[in-house]
């Protein structure tokens, strides 16, 4: 994925323009693990929207696997997002009332062909990879925070995405569990050859990345990988 001179501006009710992102350049390749750190309100969510093909830049170019995303229609972007981008959220966002296995199956409902028809088998394999095969039939509210995030990771990876976007993935976990979850996410992403972009304000999470950027007032700059704080 590459962003070249990407800006994102919104018009406020008083007709003034708010520049959320200013001239963002970023290139992420298969197997990369990149962290983007920044304070609240610096434009992290907007950047996440763009990276997840959920929004389009006001100006600049966004390319995904060589395709200019701006030329794709909404539904084409949705199909590309489903097949190539996996999301891991801070609050896990598992669907309530559905078992761990059903949650992991959910993205496969939007797949075609073998991925759809073999959805149960693929989901079980993925749960096995995150070490939760024995809890496949358990409802989310019966799982610990760490287990819920592992289910969320399995769900994000089950369609074999080329890009994994992790939005504050350890924000709702204690330090030890957060470290374990991040290690798992890094391992599974590396094994599958997907690029991993972690958006965080946690230096311990950013410390696991192989490249680090700082987002400040809409401007993205290269930053040194922080040294993790010992638990």
């Amino acid at each position: 994925m590459s962003l070249t001179g990407v800006t994102r501006t919104v018009r406020l009710p008083d007709d003034q323009e708010l520049h959320i992102l200013r001239g963002v350049d970023l290139a992420v390749h298969a197997g990369d693990h990149t962290a983007v750190i920044g304070r609240s309100g610096c434009g992290k969510s907007t950047l996440l929207n763009l990276l997840g093909l959920l929004d389009l830049p006001t100006s600049g170019e966004l390319r995904f696997q060589g395709t200019p995303v701006g030329q794709l229609r909404g539904n084409e972007r949705a199909v590309l997002r489903g097949s190539s981008v996996g999301f891991v959220f801070q609050q896990f966002n598992l669907l309530p009332g559905r078992s761990a296995l059903e949650n992991v199956i959910t993205p496969l409902l939007y797949a075609r062909g073998a991925q759809f028809w073999r959805r149960r088998e693929l989901a079980m394999d993925m749960l096995d990879r995150v070490g939760l095969a024995q809890r496949a039939d358990t409802l989310p509210n019966m799982l610990s925070g760490g287990e819920q995030q592992r289910v969320a990771i399995a769900r994000a990876l089950v369609r074999g995405p080329r890009l994994i976007l992790a939005d504050e993935p350890t924000g709702a976990l204690d330090v030890d569990t957060g470290q374990a979850v991040m290690a798992l996410l890094d391992t599974v992403a590396t094994e599958s050859g997907a690029a991993l972009i972690t958006i965080t304000h946690d230096v311990n999470v950013a410390a696991l990345a192989r490249a680090c950027y700082r987002l400040e007032a809409g401007v993205l700059t290269t930053a040194a990988i922080p040294a993790g704080v010992p638990a």
């Binding site: 969510s45 949705a78 997002r81 489903g82 959910t106 939007y110 797949a111 075609r112 759809f116 028809w117």
Partner: protein, 398 residues
């Protein structure tokens, strides 16, 4: 193929997970549809009852009642000839004389006066008379030595409900001491109505019940014609008769219920209005539940969008959930309505005058189902649009 199956799998998951909420929504819609369908079904039954009653009194649409009036009585034989001429000239299949007379019969509990209708075999068809027992007059019943009678239920009860297979006889009180044979029984026109009976014109003349034949006082001649021919035939027959009876006035008038337009139109309008109101209430209730549901599902919709669900898929999903739910509720509602409308007590109260109750009206069932699906589509469309407009990341952080 994959898209359809996956949409169904998703819908089934939704149904399973949200069964309580969906069930609550279904109850409201099912009751609305039941009310709507019942109103239409009961209206239909009432209409059939009213129609049967009207046809029994005034004849089917279009029945023309013909008479010739003047300063003096027209010559009976000439008038009869004129009626025969009308039948032949215009190819009339069903016709009947109609006169009323009072006659006393010797019942087991004594002599009792009976209202007698003197008619021809065609009268039964023209007035759509349904018999509860026995049969209506056949053409050769005129030749019976003992006049045939079709009697009302109250007459039949007063006569002791004899077995019609034994050709039960009943004496006509009077100078001639004639005996009549009961061949059929018609339901009473209204509860506890006095005994009445039908007798053929020829038999009544021979028995001295009526005098004067076709031109007798109060005599009418009725013919049943096609609706669209009624106006033209009325003019033609009036002209024919006035030419044949100079100085006299021919009266050819429709006597059926539909002669002044559709009398059911106001009833239908009222029923339609009530049904529309019920439907509107159902739609508002369903819309309310759907809107709350979508608000409740904003985060879930956002998550699904992040997995690659297209806006069309989200729209169809929310819409289908509503339509499928209301369609199921519609089936349940129609079943409740059938149980209500076909309830014997309701049928007897609403369908007065009917000997056989009509089957549950298919149009009412289709209207109920159609209304349910329409309500589902309308109540699903707005939440579906709201669902499509959900901003994914905002929804996830909702």
């Amino acid at each position: 193929m994959t898209g359809v199956v996956s949409a169904l799998v998703e819908a089934w998951q939704e149904l399973r997970i949200n069964k309580t909420r969906i069930l609550l929504a279904l109850v409201g819609v099912a009751l609305s549809v039941a009310a709507l369908t019942s109103v239409v079904g009961v209206g239909d039954l009432a209409r059939e009852g009213f129609k049967a009653d009207s046809e029994r009194n005034g004849g089917r649409s279009a029945t023309l009642a013909i008479g010739v009036y003047g300063p003096s009585q027209p010559d009976p034989q000439k008038l009869e000839g004129a009626y025969r001429g009308i039948i032949e000239r215009y190819g009339i299949t069903y016709f009947s004389h109609a006169a009323q007379a009072q006659l006393s019969f010797q019942f087991p509990r004594g002599v009792q006066p009976v209202q007698l209708q003197v008619v021809d075999p065609g009268y039964g068809v023209i007035h759509r008379l349904d018999l509860s027992q026995g049969g209506w007059f056949a053409a050769n019943d005129e030749e019976r030595l003992a006049p045939a009678l079709v009697v009302s239920e109250s007459f039949y009860n007063a006569a002791g409900r004899p077995n019609l297979a034994t050709s039960p006889k009943i004496a006509m009180a009077g100078d001639q001491k004639t005996t009549a044979v009961i061949i059929g029984v018609v339901p009473d026109p209204y509860p506890e109505s006095p005994p009445s009976a039908y007798m053929l014109t020829g038999a009544a003349e021979r028995s001295g019940v009526t005098a004067g034949g076709a031109a007798g006082p109060g005599q009418q001649f009725k013919i049943w014609v096609q609706d669209e021919q009624a106006a033209a035939l009325k003019a033609a027959i009036t002209s024919d008769l006035e030419q044949q009876f100079p100085g006299m006035q021919a009266a050819v008038d429709r006597s059926d219920y539909a002669s002044y337009g559709d009398p059911f139109a106001p009833v239908q309008l009222a029923v339609g209005g009530v049904a529309g109101l019920v439907l509107l209430l159902g739609a508002v209730g369903m819309l309310n539940i759907s809107m709350v549901t979508v608000r409740y599902r904003v985060r879930e919709i956002g998550i699904r969008r992040s997995f690659g669900a297209t806006s069309r898929r989200i729209f169809v999903g929310v819409m289908m959930e509503s339509v499928v739910a209301t369609a199921v509720a519609g089936v349940v509602g129609v079943m409740i309505a059938v149980a209500v409308v076909k309830n014997p007590w309701i049928e007897s109260k609403v369908g007065r005058g009917l000997t056989e109750y009509p089957p549950f009206p298919v149009d009412a069932a289709l209207l109920g189902l159609g209304a349910a699906v329409l309500v589902g589509a309308l109540a699903g469309a707005i939440p579906a649009v709201v669902a499509v407009r959900v901003k994914v990341i905002d929804a996830i952080r909702f």
